[in-house]
């Protein structure tokens, strides 16, 4: 079983990201489980969402404490929350930031950054980064295919909005593929 933890702020779409990643994984033939951990339900408050992936039905219901993968939607969270907590060797952390990342991560964790905000602003016209980070997750981990992710996005959004989200995910996917392959 592999586990993903997404850190974001209320309103950034962390829960939607977890759900759509689970949908894409399920369509790819895996058992998947996605669920949120709400703190206070309001915009801007730290939110976590989790996804589990397995070849067998998933029974465990606790939150994720030792994630294989972490997505950080908002780098300002890193000051307040230990977003890399519980990660171990072989883990992959994807952080949305425009800067060069020099965050201290646990030993053996691969830190990948992406300027998801700029991609989202250019494609969606809004700083909603979840779709870009889903694309980055697909590229960095290979756990879900881009096609399955695009299907999940098409199912969730309709018309022009679906197209824009798929374009956002595609740009992030391509950028992360280049980066993850190079480093």
């Amino acid at each position: 079983m592999q586990e993903l933890r997404i850190h974001g702020r209320g309103g950034q779409g962390s829960v939607t990201a977890a759900e759509l990643i689970a949908v894409a994984a399920f369509e790819g033939g895996k058992y998947a489980q996605a669920f949120p951990a709400f703190g206070v339900e309001r915009r801007g408050a730290p939110v976590q969402a989790f996804v589990r992936f397995s070849d067998r039905p998933i029974r465990v219901r606790s939150q994720v404490y030792e994630p294989d993968f972490v997505i950080v939607q908002d780098p300002s969270l890193i000051r307040d929350v230990d977003v890399f907590k519980g990660m171990g060797s072989g883990g992959i952390a994807i952080v949305n930031t425009e800067k060069e990342a020099d965050y201290p991560v646990p030993g053996g964790v691969r830190l990948l950054t992406l300027d998801a905000t700029t991609i989202a602003l250019e494609t969606l016209g809004l700083p909603i980064t979840n779709t870009a980070l889903m694309g980055a997750f697909a590229a960095a981990t290979g756990l879900i295919s881009f096609e399955a992710l695009a299907d999940a996005l098409r199912h969730r959004f309709s018309g022009a909005l679906a197209d824009k989200n798929i374009e956002t995910a595609r740009r992030a996917y391509d950028e992360m593929k280049a980066r993850a392959g190079a480093s």
Binding site: V15, A18, E19, A22, V23, F26, E27, Y31, A32, Q33, A34, F35, P36, F38, E41, P57, I58, R59, V60, R61, S62, Q63, Y65
Partner: protein, 390 residues
Amino acid sequence: MALEIMEGSIAIAQAVRRCRPQVVAAYPITPQTHIVEALAEIVANGELSADYITVESEFSALSACEGAVAAGSRAYSATTSQGLALMFEVCFNMAGMRLPLVMTIANRAMGAPLSIWNDQQDSIALRDAGWLQLYAEDNQEAVDLHYIGYRVAEDHRVLLPVMVCFDGFVLSHTYEPVDMLTQEEVDAYLPPFVPKFMLDAKNPVSMGMYATPDYYPEFRYETDLAQKRALEVIREAGREFGEQFGRDYSALVESYRMDDAETAIIAMGSICGTTKEAVDEMRDAGKRVGLVRLRTFRPFPTEDLREALSGVSRVAVLDRNVSLGAGGTVHRGAVVLEVKDALYGEPIPVLDYVIGLGGRDVRIEDIKRVVELCEAGDGDRFYGLRTEVL
């Protein structure tokens, strides 16, 4: 079987649609909201021919259902926590009038202090209202218990309302694979509601009338007898469900790895999934431990539980509620009281662990720790409290 992945609440709404209720009345409250939002949309889209009655409170929601069932309709509602508390009076009335209903409870803690998170205090507080209470471990079971729930509630041997309890957020907001029966399959399992008595201007009857001391106890006795009969009706309905669709729900208690078990853990709801993983790990480490999961809390499957526990040396009960003031100087939830009643006279220690209240997370390690405590005879306590209160 064709698995689809979806949110628990949406799966419940889709299952309810397939049960063809003629009246839906509910008031939105976290974490039940997604169920009733989805149903409102289903009705508005014409996918379900039902009257969706928007109301100003949970009291009205259940009152509308009460009237609908009294008039001969199949009805549905859903709620949680403070919403269920507001239905308290109507809950007793519906059971007393023998009006069958299925209501989903997205289990949540009771305020104060305010908590939107999961435990089972809300439905447990309605223990004596006369409703059947079924508890689901995962979303597949939560979905299927709605079909079974209507079958049992409307059976003329029972005629009582049913709460299908599934853990708020932990199940209601979780995306996971479920197998949704087709409308044809549900129609083949669940016949239309045939009321035994109904409000009909041509054949007038009174319901919920005054009962003097000369008659009142007999009504309570008859209602309790219906609960007893429900034990067998649930087994029957669960067995038939298994015969038709391959998932057998005839057992009122599920025994997991109980062969030769010395320590039995007893629990209800989604915590049982995590507990099964913990049991597997403890078994791998050579510990003889198993889980007995209660699917029904009302009626309480006393005899089934006795049988499931025969041969064990000790019992650890996980109570996701607390019966404040119970147990003299020790701490106890409502489930352990039933377990002790079932095992009365047996020389088996039964220890209680009040755990996971108000959404406090329960991990595999916690279940293992509970078993260690039980082996050491340390129980009848809250588990995992912050140290500053100790």
